[in-house]
Protein backbone atom coordinates (compact mmCIF):
# COMPACT_ATOMS: atom_id res chain seq x y z
CA UNK A 1 0.00 0.00 0.00
CA UNK A 2 1.41 3.30 -0.99
CA UNK A 3 0.76 6.26 1.15
CA UNK A 4 1.28 9.87 0.56
CA UNK A 5 2.12 12.26 3.33
CA UNK A 6 0.55 15.59 2.82
CA UNK A 7 2.28 18.07 5.04
CA UNK A 8 0.26 20.60 6.86
CA UNK A 9 0.50 24.03 5.26
CA UNK A 10 3.25 25.95 6.93
CA UNK A 11 3.54 29.30 5.22
CA UNK A 12 0.54 30.90 6.89
CA UNK A 13 1.64 29.71 10.32
CA UNK A 14 5.22 30.82 9.70
CA UNK A 15 3.98 34.23 8.64
CA UNK A 16 1.90 34.47 11.80
CA UNK A 17 4.94 33.79 13.98
CA UNK A 18 6.80 36.93 12.92
CA UNK A 19 5.74 40.45 13.71
CA UNK A 20 3.96 42.14 10.84
CA UNK A 21 5.85 45.44 10.98
CA UNK A 22 4.06 46.97 8.02
CA UNK A 23 0.71 46.36 9.72
CA UNK A 24 1.94 47.99 12.94
CA UNK A 25 3.33 50.88 10.90
CA UNK A 26 -0.08 51.31 9.28
CA UNK A 27 -1.78 51.29 12.68
CA UNK A 28 0.85 53.65 14.12
CA UNK A 29 0.25 56.24 11.38
CA UNK A 30 -3.47 56.35 12.23
CA UNK A 31 -3.19 56.32 16.04
CA UNK A 32 -0.36 58.88 16.15
CA UNK A 33 -2.16 60.94 13.50
CA UNK A 34 -5.26 61.36 15.66
CA UNK A 35 -3.18 62.21 18.75
CA UNK A 36 -1.07 64.67 16.73
CA UNK A 37 -4.17 66.54 15.52
CA UNK A 38 -4.93 67.33 19.18
CA UNK A 39 -1.32 67.98 20.26
CA UNK A 40 -0.31 70.09 17.24
CA UNK A 41 -3.54 72.13 17.13
CA UNK A 42 -3.12 72.84 20.86
CA UNK A 43 0.54 73.77 20.28
CA UNK A 44 -0.36 76.13 17.41
CA UNK A 45 -3.20 77.73 19.37
CA UNK A 46 -1.11 78.45 22.46
CA UNK A 47 1.96 79.67 20.52
CA UNK A 48 0.43 81.49 17.52
CA UNK A 49 -3.10 82.62 18.45
CA UNK A 50 -3.29 83.05 22.25
CA UNK A 51 -1.43 85.88 23.94
CA UNK A 52 0.51 88.08 21.54
CA UNK A 53 0.69 85.56 18.68
CA UNK A 54 3.92 84.42 17.08
CA UNK A 55 5.82 87.55 18.18
CA UNK A 56 5.57 86.49 21.83
CA UNK A 57 7.93 83.56 21.18
CA UNK A 58 11.32 84.13 22.80
CA UNK A 59 13.47 82.49 25.48
CA UNK A 60 11.28 83.79 28.31
CA UNK A 61 8.16 82.38 26.59
CA UNK A 62 9.67 78.90 26.16
CA UNK A 63 11.07 79.00 29.71
CA UNK A 64 7.66 79.95 31.08
CA UNK A 65 6.05 76.99 29.30
CA UNK A 66 8.70 74.42 30.23
CA UNK A 67 8.63 75.51 33.87
CA UNK A 68 5.51 73.33 33.95
CA UNK A 69 5.76 69.53 33.54
CA UNK A 70 2.46 69.70 31.63
CA UNK A 71 4.11 71.37 28.61
CA UNK A 72 7.28 69.28 28.96
CA UNK A 73 5.17 66.12 28.64
CA UNK A 74 3.02 67.67 25.88
CA UNK A 75 6.04 68.71 23.79
CA UNK A 76 7.92 65.44 24.36
CA UNK A 77 4.89 63.41 23.25
CA UNK A 78 4.52 65.64 20.20
CA UNK A 79 8.23 65.29 19.41
CA UNK A 80 8.26 61.48 19.49
CA UNK A 81 4.90 60.97 17.78
CA UNK A 82 5.56 63.55 15.03
CA UNK A 83 9.14 62.53 14.19
CA UNK A 84 8.29 58.82 14.01
CA UNK A 85 5.11 59.62 12.02
CA UNK A 86 7.05 61.87 9.64
CA UNK A 87 9.98 59.46 9.45
CA UNK A 88 7.68 56.58 8.53
CA UNK A 89 5.95 58.74 5.91
CA UNK A 90 9.31 59.72 4.40
CA UNK A 91 10.30 56.03 4.38
CA UNK A 92 7.19 55.25 2.34
CA UNK A 93 8.03 58.03 -0.12
CA UNK A 94 11.68 56.94 -0.47
CA UNK A 95 10.57 53.34 -1.10
CA UNK A 96 8.07 54.59 -3.70
CA UNK A 97 10.42 56.73 -5.75
CA UNK A 98 14.02 55.60 -5.25
CA UNK A 99 14.69 52.47 -7.33
CA UNK A 100 18.48 52.44 -7.04
CA UNK A 101 19.21 50.08 -4.07
CA UNK A 102 22.39 51.87 -2.96
CA UNK A 103 20.84 55.33 -3.04
CA UNK A 104 17.73 54.02 -1.31
CA UNK A 105 19.81 52.48 1.46
CA UNK A 106 21.76 55.73 1.93
CA UNK A 107 18.55 57.78 2.09
CA UNK A 108 16.81 55.37 4.49
CA UNK A 109 19.93 55.28 6.68
CA UNK A 110 20.21 59.08 6.81
CA UNK A 111 16.51 59.32 7.57
CA UNK A 112 16.83 56.90 10.48
CA UNK A 113 19.85 58.76 11.88
CA UNK A 114 18.18 62.20 11.54
CA UNK A 115 15.01 61.05 13.28
CA UNK A 116 16.89 59.26 16.08
CA UNK A 117 19.26 62.21 16.70
CA UNK A 118 16.44 64.77 16.74
CA UNK A 119 14.29 62.69 19.12
CA UNK A 120 17.27 62.35 21.46
CA UNK A 121 18.22 66.04 21.14
CA UNK A 122 14.66 67.29 21.65
CA UNK A 123 14.01 65.03 24.64
CA UNK A 124 17.28 66.02 26.33
CA UNK A 125 16.61 69.73 25.74
CA UNK A 126 13.05 69.57 27.10
CA UNK A 127 14.07 67.68 30.26
CA UNK A 128 17.49 69.18 31.12
CA UNK A 129 16.34 72.72 30.39
CA UNK A 130 17.07 75.41 32.98
CA UNK A 131 14.70 78.39 32.71
CA UNK A 132 17.10 80.51 34.82
CA UNK A 133 20.63 79.65 33.61
CA UNK A 134 23.35 81.02 35.93
CA UNK A 135 25.08 83.98 34.37
CA UNK A 136 22.22 84.39 31.84
CA UNK A 137 21.62 87.94 30.59
CA UNK A 138 18.80 89.23 32.87
CA UNK A 139 17.14 90.93 29.88
CA UNK A 140 16.37 87.58 28.29
CA UNK A 141 15.20 85.69 31.38
CA UNK A 142 11.56 84.99 32.25
CA UNK A 143 9.99 86.89 35.15
CA UNK A 144 9.97 83.72 37.30
CA UNK A 145 13.80 83.98 37.65
CA UNK A 146 15.18 85.97 40.58
CA UNK A 147 17.87 87.38 38.23
CA UNK A 148 15.30 88.61 35.67
CA UNK A 149 15.44 92.27 34.72
Amino acid sequence: MTTQTIEAPRSARAARRTTNWEKWGWIYMRVSGVLLVVLVFGHLFVNLIAGDGVHQVDFAFVAGKWASPFWQVWDTLMLWLALIHGGNGMRTIINDYVYQPTIRRILLGSLLVSVAVLILLGTLVAWTFDPCPTGGNPEFLPSICSAAA
Partner: protein, 146 residues
Amino acid sequence: MSGTAGVVADDRSVDVPVPRTRIAGTVYRGREGMWSWVLHRITGVAIFFFLLVHVMDTALVRLSPEAYDAVIGTYKTPLMGLGEAGLVGAIVFHAYNGLRIIAVDFSRWAVRHQRLLFWVVLGLWAVTMAGFLPRHLMVVFSELGE
Protein backbone atom coordinates in the same frame (compact mmCIF):
# COMPACT_ATOMS: atom_id res chain seq x y z
CA MET B 1 -24.70 47.37 -11.14
CA SER B 2 -24.09 50.01 -13.75
CA GLY B 3 -21.87 52.90 -12.85
CA THR B 4 -20.30 51.20 -9.83
CA ALA B 5 -17.24 49.06 -9.23
CA GLY B 6 -16.38 46.75 -6.35
CA VAL B 7 -13.33 47.90 -4.41
CA VAL B 8 -12.70 44.63 -2.55
CA ALA B 9 -13.62 41.31 -4.18
CA ASP B 10 -14.98 39.50 -1.15
CA ASP B 11 -17.91 39.79 1.24
CA ARG B 12 -16.45 43.05 2.47
CA SER B 13 -16.73 44.61 -0.98
CA VAL B 14 -18.19 48.06 -1.26
CA ASP B 15 -19.93 49.53 -4.26
CA VAL B 16 -18.61 52.97 -5.07
CA PRO B 17 -19.82 55.47 -7.62
CA VAL B 18 -17.48 55.73 -10.61
CA PRO B 19 -16.72 59.29 -11.73
CA ARG B 20 -17.67 59.97 -15.34
CA THR B 21 -14.26 61.24 -16.36
CA ARG B 22 -12.20 58.56 -14.65
CA ILE B 23 -9.13 57.04 -16.26
CA ALA B 24 -9.99 53.46 -17.28
CA GLY B 25 -9.46 50.79 -14.64
CA THR B 26 -9.47 52.97 -11.56
CA VAL B 27 -11.97 54.66 -9.28
CA TYR B 28 -9.31 56.83 -7.75
CA ARG B 29 -6.95 58.23 -10.37
CA GLY B 30 -7.31 61.71 -11.81
CA ARG B 31 -10.03 62.92 -9.46
CA GLU B 32 -10.53 64.02 -5.85
CA GLY B 33 -8.97 60.84 -4.45
CA MET B 34 -5.76 61.42 -6.40
CA TRP B 35 -5.48 65.07 -5.41
CA SER B 36 -6.10 64.14 -1.78
CA TRP B 37 -3.17 61.67 -2.05
CA VAL B 38 -0.88 64.13 -3.88
CA LEU B 39 -1.55 66.97 -1.43
CA HIS B 40 -1.12 64.64 1.54
CA ARG B 41 2.36 63.70 0.28
CA ILE B 42 3.48 67.24 -0.54
CA THR B 43 2.23 68.73 2.75
CA GLY B 44 3.69 65.76 4.67
CA VAL B 45 7.17 66.24 3.20
CA ALA B 46 7.03 70.01 3.80
CA ILE B 47 5.97 69.53 7.44
CA PHE B 48 8.71 66.92 7.97
CA PHE B 49 11.49 69.26 6.82
CA PHE B 50 10.06 72.10 8.89
CA LEU B 51 10.05 69.76 11.89
CA LEU B 52 13.77 69.01 11.48
CA VAL B 53 14.59 72.74 11.55
CA HIS B 54 12.08 73.46 14.33
CA VAL B 55 13.57 70.88 16.73
CA MET B 56 17.07 72.28 16.09
CA ASP B 57 16.14 75.94 16.56
CA THR B 58 14.22 75.13 19.75
CA ALA B 59 17.26 73.19 21.01
CA LEU B 60 19.09 76.54 21.12
CA VAL B 61 17.29 77.33 24.41
CA ARG B 62 19.71 74.83 25.96
CA LEU B 63 22.68 76.82 24.62
CA SER B 64 21.85 80.33 25.80
CA PRO B 65 18.91 82.76 25.94
CA GLU B 66 20.83 85.11 23.59
CA ALA B 67 21.40 82.43 20.95
CA TYR B 68 17.74 81.40 20.96
CA ASP B 69 16.39 84.94 20.80
CA ALA B 70 18.86 85.87 18.04
CA VAL B 71 17.72 83.02 15.79
CA ILE B 72 14.01 83.38 16.60
CA GLY B 73 14.42 87.12 15.97
CA THR B 74 15.37 86.44 12.34
CA TYR B 75 12.00 84.65 11.97
CA LYS B 76 10.03 87.75 12.95
CA THR B 77 9.78 89.22 9.45
CA PRO B 78 6.78 89.52 7.11
CA LEU B 79 8.28 86.90 4.76
CA MET B 80 8.67 84.33 7.54
CA GLY B 81 5.18 85.31 8.79
CA LEU B 82 3.76 84.37 5.40
CA GLY B 83 5.81 81.17 5.52
CA GLU B 84 4.26 80.36 8.89
CA ALA B 85 0.81 80.92 7.37
CA GLY B 86 1.71 78.45 4.59
CA LEU B 87 3.01 75.97 7.14
CA VAL B 88 -0.18 76.17 9.19
CA GLY B 89 -2.19 75.75 5.96
CA ALA B 90 -0.19 72.58 5.17
CA ILE B 91 -0.61 71.22 8.71
CA VAL B 92 -4.36 71.87 8.78
CA PHE B 93 -4.85 70.17 5.40
CA HIS B 94 -2.69 67.19 6.40
CA ALA B 95 -4.63 66.87 9.68
CA TYR B 96 -8.13 66.98 8.15
CA ASN B 97 -7.20 64.84 5.16
CA GLY B 98 -5.56 62.32 7.51
CA LEU B 99 -8.84 62.04 9.42
CA ARG B 100 -10.57 61.53 6.05
CA ILE B 101 -8.14 58.69 5.24
CA ILE B 102 -8.90 57.04 8.59
CA ALA B 103 -12.64 57.38 7.91
CA VAL B 104 -12.24 55.78 4.47
CA ASP B 105 -10.21 52.94 6.04
CA PHE B 106 -12.80 52.10 8.67
CA SER B 107 -16.21 53.06 7.28
CA ARG B 108 -18.11 51.78 4.25
CA TRP B 109 -20.08 54.99 4.11
CA ALA B 110 -16.84 56.97 3.87
CA VAL B 111 -15.53 54.71 1.07
CA ARG B 112 -18.66 55.45 -0.94
CA HIS B 113 -18.39 59.18 -0.20
CA GLN B 114 -14.60 59.63 -0.33
CA ARG B 115 -14.93 62.27 -3.06
CA LEU B 116 -17.50 64.26 -1.09
CA LEU B 117 -15.25 63.95 1.99
CA PHE B 118 -12.38 65.56 0.08
CA TRP B 119 -14.56 68.64 -0.45
CA VAL B 120 -15.54 68.54 3.23
CA VAL B 121 -11.80 68.57 4.06
CA LEU B 122 -11.28 71.60 1.80
CA GLY B 123 -14.31 73.34 3.35
CA LEU B 124 -13.13 72.77 6.93
CA TRP B 125 -9.64 73.86 5.87
CA ALA B 126 -11.06 77.13 4.49
CA VAL B 127 -13.06 77.76 7.68
CA THR B 128 -10.05 77.07 9.92
CA MET B 129 -7.76 79.27 7.83
CA ALA B 130 -10.38 82.04 7.81
CA GLY B 131 -10.19 81.95 11.60
CA PHE B 132 -6.40 81.75 11.78
CA LEU B 133 -5.15 84.04 8.99
CA PRO B 134 -6.61 87.41 10.10
CA ARG B 135 -5.27 86.91 13.63
CA HIS B 136 -1.86 85.74 12.46
CA LEU B 137 -1.37 88.33 9.69
CA MET B 138 -2.41 91.09 12.09
CA VAL B 139 0.36 89.99 14.47
CA VAL B 140 2.89 89.63 11.66
CA PHE B 141 2.25 92.99 10.00
CA SER B 142 1.30 95.11 13.04
CA GLU B 143 4.81 95.10 14.54
CA LEU B 144 6.61 95.96 11.32
CA GLY B 145 7.74 99.38 12.53
CA GLU B 146 9.30 98.06 15.73
